[in-house]
Amino acid sequence: MAQFAEPASAHDDTHAAATGKRLRKLVAVTALPAVLTLIFLSLTPSIAGGDILRWAMPWFPGLGVSLSLYVDGLGLLFALLISGIGVVVFSYASVYMEHYAFNTRFFIVLTLFMLSMLGVVLSDNIITLFVFWELTTITSYLLIGFTHDEAKSRYSALQALLVTGLGGLAMLAGLILLGLIGGSFELSDLRAGTVDIREHGLYGAILALVLIGCFTKSAQFPFHFWLPNAMAAPTPVSAYLHSATMVKAGIYLMARLHPTLGGTDGWVWALTLAGGITAVMSSVWSLYQRDLKQVLAWTTIMGLGTLTLMLGGGDKYAVMGAMTFLVVHCLYKATLFLAVGAIDHATHTRDRDELSGLRRAMPKVFALSVAAALSMAGLPPFIGFIGKEVMYEGALHAATLPALVAGFALAANAMMIGAAGIVAVAPFIGPERSWPAPPHDPPLAMWLGPAVLGTLGLLMGLLPFWLADPLIGPATSAVYGSPVSVHLALWHGINLPLLLSLATFALGYACWHFRAPIRAALERTAARVPLTAEQGYDHALAGVKAFAAWQTRVLQHGSLRGYLGTIFATIVILTGWSLVRGNVLPMQTNLLDATGFAWAAALLIVAGTATAIVANSRLTAICALGAVGVGTAMLFAVHGAVDVALTQVLIDILFVILLAIALLELPPLDRFRPRLSLANGFAAVVSLAIGALMTVILISITSLPLDTRITEYYEAMSVPAAHGRNIVNVILVDFRALDTLGEIAVIALAGLAAYALISLRQKTLTARRDDDGSVQ
């Protein structure tokens, strides 16, 4: 009946089918984060009551590595942010990513990222934490380079991977030291432990290594440059990974280790200076950017800097400020990124000079970006205002130089107001422009989530005791190391933080008002910066590549003779040196004990070797080498190692077959006829030296008493434990089967690799032959 259907209803059908498909996709991708959010929400009351949930499963018990989860206030706050913002981002992306290729791959990687991030914040074991940490680095690499047909994406993805990956390695060293000195790899044990890491001689090294990891991950100066480049990722990724969650992993770890490592002069100064410089520098550069996503990226770095600054302060108000600002930042930053994504989706530009007058075309996006911007600017009654007040309170209580900390915070916050205006207000006001396609509000799945986040920002400000206290209180206590009662409120009376807030508003308004001249001035400054951190990275990378190219040229020259000469000369020098140095040359052996048969085999070997050296034809040389192999096999057989002898003979046969194949292609032997030359002289010296060395080693070994305990064990256990009388085989396939598994894996891979290389060469050769043919 389908062919009689009206065109209109057919259209309706496809439309309905498309809507149904969208809905199914929306449900499919948001189900997991939604369920996780509900689970974490259900845990909130008990955690707020002071409970701690733990679950552990041994993983590598011998190394102290276990898969242990630990849910306290700090972990739960992060887990809620990750899964909750995950719901918003996943639903948004289900629509936003429609026109991209590889949607399935995208959501798989994004889900993997979410799970690894939850792993980071819920792990109690520091090795497990590190594994999850690196998993976020890898998924981030895949997501930044998602549009991998663009060179910029690939460059940015690699940069993020190298910077955070190298930082991660430094951190691993620090964490291992921490675990060894602290006596446990569980974070909870380290906090409760009797050993005070801060008193230990290696505390400085641990602190430096761990902080390098945290600073690279959380984009602190001078490692900040990868984050703006990471904006090459699709906007939902930028919103989720590079503002709300992943970059907070460094912050999380600093907060987590605060009770264990914090409070020393080194900690305070490192975090205060890195955080302060990062916050101020990045908020200045945010005013310079044209691309709205870049403005947001630089304000994200500012947010991370501020959090580091607050964690450095160490006072309970500073910690409270950090935890409040963490929530504030996640809420407004995710919303603003998603709003900018919607603008980009509708107008196909993010250039702040090209955008204006969108308020009529996109009223919903306008409303929710203004809500987010008000929170970002820290205006009452949004949670952002409370966050800023608590932060100033914490800055004024800072352990070292409160004026400096407050100054950093004031400057950064003021410029933040300017940036908030540039991103969230400027594109919507001013004259309307004509667009190729009229811009419009995005579908529900794209604006509902950001709207919920914006509303939460408002509600948390209005009802802090109800929404914010149960989350921020336990988190603050966990970071501070002892219970802190948290009561957030909009009005604290007229005090210094309020005055600082007022000063911030005044300065911020100035930043917004003079945004054009400020940018012009920054443009002039930018041209004069002699060396940016990113150029430093480029130089370092170029240096590594040049070094790699140089050492490849020197070492991988392609001459087999050269390789063998190098390898054997190295063996002779190193082994010979350690023999002489260790004075292990007890030469007590009685050659006359050898049987006549062994002497015959030895004679065969010597004769074969001599023939191979002086042979005029390759066939003679190969046969002579075969005789050497047979002689060796005879020696093995005489001494009872039948399996080894068998293998030796078979390998020799194979060797002859392989050489026979290659024989046809090799140049005539005359070119290499024995004659006196420098190269031949070197080869002769090295050959004699390696021969002499092996002789000395063998005689030394046989003259020492043989420790037969292992042999006896295998002899005794072979039949009862492994049901086999051939000990060599039992060792290979049972007692030491793991070694064999590794070896056959290597053989299989080597076979694949050699096959790939040879067929690749074959293809190029054929192609070249075809080209030659066509020319003729």
Partner: protein, 139 residues
């Protein structure tokens, strides 16, 4: 390179060598032999066959691509290791099953060890033949 002697001899020898290689593989646990040695014998059999009858013919005689063979072998070895884990024991613990044993006779030994050795055999055959065939074809 065609030689009447080689091709006539190969026709007779190849089959025998393959049977011998399986014999070596199966007896390996108690007498000299095993997967590695058996595999080498099989490789030599196929290499000789390829030498006298052409590589294309040898590939046809093998039925599957050597690379597939070596990966199947690796799979056998890993599978043999996993069986022990199913019984709650460490990876690669040998498990034995004696079929039809009577008094004084343990019966036919079937074991993960044998599966592991077959894996070794297949990896050796696959990996080495993969290289030999590719080299032969290049020349």
């Amino acid at each position: 390179m065609t030689s009447l002697i080689l091709s006539t001899a190969t026709r007779l020898i190849t089959g025998l060598m393959l049977v011998f290689s399986v014999f070596l593989l199966l007896r390996g646990h108690n007498e000299p032999g095993g997967g590695f040695i058996g595999g080498l014998v099989a490789v030599i059999a196929f290499a000789l066959y390829g030498k006298s009858r052409g590589t294309a013919e040898a590939r046809r005689a093998l039925y599957v691509h050597p690379n597939v063979l070596s990966l199947i072998g690796l799979g056998c070895a890993v599978a043999a290791g996993v069986v022990g884990m199913l019984f709650g024991e460490p990876f690669l613990t040998g498990k034995w099953l004696f079929v039809g044993g009577g008094d004084g006779d343990k019966g036919w030994p079937l074991s993960t060890i044998l599966l592991f050795d077959i894996g070794v055999y297949l990896v050796v055959v696959g990996a080495v033949l993969s290289v030999i065939f590719a080299m032969e074809e290049e020349i």
